[in-house]
Symmetry: none
Subunit: 227 residues, 4 copies
């Protein structure tokens, strides 16, 4: 306690400066990554872009991977934030409306920095520290699963875990594909896309009719004669 008086303020000033430096570096990393691609994003270039010396960069990040990992984490956090907000807002909505809003949030999330998002998706190797970061994606799963749990009554799918996985994966992939690779298909027509995806998901979670198609035993590869 005695230490808190002089230490805390001074430390937080330092921390504030540190935090500012970290943000500056992450911003520079994002810019370089977007402009040059992963392979040409050298730590020297990033430091220069940040207006800082390489040495300083290494004062805050032990190596390049950690730097990129931190940026990925920040970006994921920003995206997640939007989803979290949407989930809060949606809590009392009926399923279809709620799913619609969640899809819309997914689109917004992909638009936070779609160029950067593409680089992460397409070029950044998922090794070491980056592997752990997918844990953030896990959070998405848990949040969505919790929501579906609450709406259990409206859902006819038996296994909620796999249903969540399927819905989250499908929405994320469709959003990604359309925002990143077919942005022209969304121009001025975002709602149509959202509507379609929503229908896909809602139709899956709540099949109105009874006829759930059951997959037949595999027909192909009957070569060996087995069933």
């Amino acid at each position: 306690m005695a230490r808190a008086i002089p230490t805390t303020p001074r430390k937080s000033a330092t921390q504030k400066r540190s935090q500012a430096m970290v943000e500056t570096l992450l911003d520079a990393t994002a810019r370089v990554l977007t402009r040059e691609g992963y392979d040409r994003a050298s730590t020297n270039r990033i430091a220069a872009t940040a207006g800082v010396s390489v040495g300083s960069l290494y004062q805050y990040f032990p190596n390049k991977e950690a730097l990129v990992a931190a940026l990925v984490a920040r970006h994921n956090r920003q995206m997640l934030e939007l989803l979290r907000d949407a989930l809060k807002e949606v809590a009392s909505f009926d399923l279809a409306t709620a799913i619609g809003e969640l899809v819309r949030a997914a689109v917004d999330a992909h638009l936070v920095d779609s160029a950067l998002h593409r680089i992460f998706a397409e070029q950044v190797p998922r090794l070491g520290q980056l592997a752990k970061i997918d844990a953030l994606q896990q959070e998405t799963f848990l949040m969505v699963r919790a929501y579906l749990e609450e709406r259990r009554a409206e859902i006819s799918v038996p296994d909620l875990d796999s249903a969540t996985a399927i819905c989250v994966t499908a929405v994320e992939a469709l959003t990604h594909e359309f925002v990143i690779n077919r942005p022209e298909a969304l121009d001025g027509d975002r709602d149509r896309f959202i509507g379609e995806v929503t229908r896909l998901i809602v139709g899956y979670l709540r099949p109105a009719d009874g006829a759930t198609p059951r997959v037949a035993a595999p027909r192909r590869r009957a070569r060996t004669g087995g069933l």
Copy 2:
């Protein structure tokens, strides 16, 4: 006349040797890519793995990108082959059964070399020649679209283009996610996964009841007011 006999074989012998070298190099590339990742896959390492000198590698491929592009093309072709076969087989089936078989083919395709597929998806930069290769993916779109066209009567979605895009993207993403990132979820239970995905797609294409959920106007952030 007599001399003509040895000429042709000799030429094809050369071609056979060339082809063999190309295959050797692509195999080595796949192995190095899988084992070391894209960043550590140097042309020297690839040549060494192939048991060949770098010079030979450059006799067959003008640069590293072309080598990787050729491997991607080969892999895509193998995957596409499975889908093509499935589409042929499925031509006369009813929609649900057909979709089931197609999903199964997608799974098989991702299992052709899932480790390599992951590297392509996660690390190989989509630049230059690689961009063109996504054209192969375009082929998937066209093939599936053609199939849906034939089953038009059973499909209630108005815009077949976007429906195809959505189905192909969703199936590919779900298959990718489960084969690549959650393989344990498929062990001994592949049919359940296939069934779920099939239900997702069929439910989307052929909503039995009338209640198609229409997305409400955006509730949050009524930005510019546009639809």
Copy 3:
């Protein structure tokens, strides 16, 4: 205020160190070029000879060509310096004496580093940046032309531009030839060479008698009949 003192020196210390590194690299380049020839002068060898890492070399020069260009520039500057000094000194001399001194300066200039000069002349490709460097040679032309302009009265050649070009080219070539390729012809007899060249030039600029030989129309190959 007190702090201002160390700052400036430190900066100039850095600049001094930079300049020292540049000189070291240029010296090493000259040594390698002289000892090994242009083709065997690799950046790695040059860096090693300089006792520096390749990386450092590239911190100061963007590529091999720039390095060689800088060395050429330095060498040309040194040679030019001698000529400039001679021209100053010679301003008031009569034409013959002046030309003699200028020829002597040309010899001295070629002796600055004749081995290096030979490499530049014989092996270094005149491309890219090097092309611009010939501009330094342009300076020679202008300086000499200015001198001749002042001595106009003693010169009977009508076109001063072409006269300058002829004199400069002839002196440079003769000096080059004798210093670089026939150094033994100069040993202990430099003044005789200088005298001969001076007579060549002075005789050309100031033909005492009237009989200027006019070239007859071409005798051989009266091709199209043109003059």
Copy 4:
């Protein structure tokens, strides 16, 4: 003798084919050298340009240097030929006219293939075999010297060796400079150039007036106090 019957004809046929191959290769070398420069003129490229396999190239030339040396020799021979012809023709002319024709021959010689000549002069390293080739230049010296000897009476320069060296060097350098580096100065005005150079040389060999400028003892560098 007995062997001569079957051997000689067959051999000469072979030799003829050999000679043709050599010429083809030299032509290709010239083309590649001119188009790509010395550094980018690889034996593989040369062979390909010649429409021949590398192996064949090495059947006729032990290495790249020998190939280039042979081309230099051929080119020098062609140039020399023109000079030789001119000297024959000029034998009976008076000095001024003769020098004029010789200068004209020098220009023609440089125009044989000026692009190639430039490459030789500026990029080809004078090492190994190439060194010996300058012997061809020696021939020029001897031929010109022989001519001057015959015209001894008209020449007032005491040392014919150095006079020859000076004349040959000056004419070659001036021709080179104007044909290679200032071709525009010759367009439609070749005779003017030839006239000037001729005046330079004739004025040097046959100074009409007595006043041969004698070089004074060096004036510069009197720094240390010496004369």
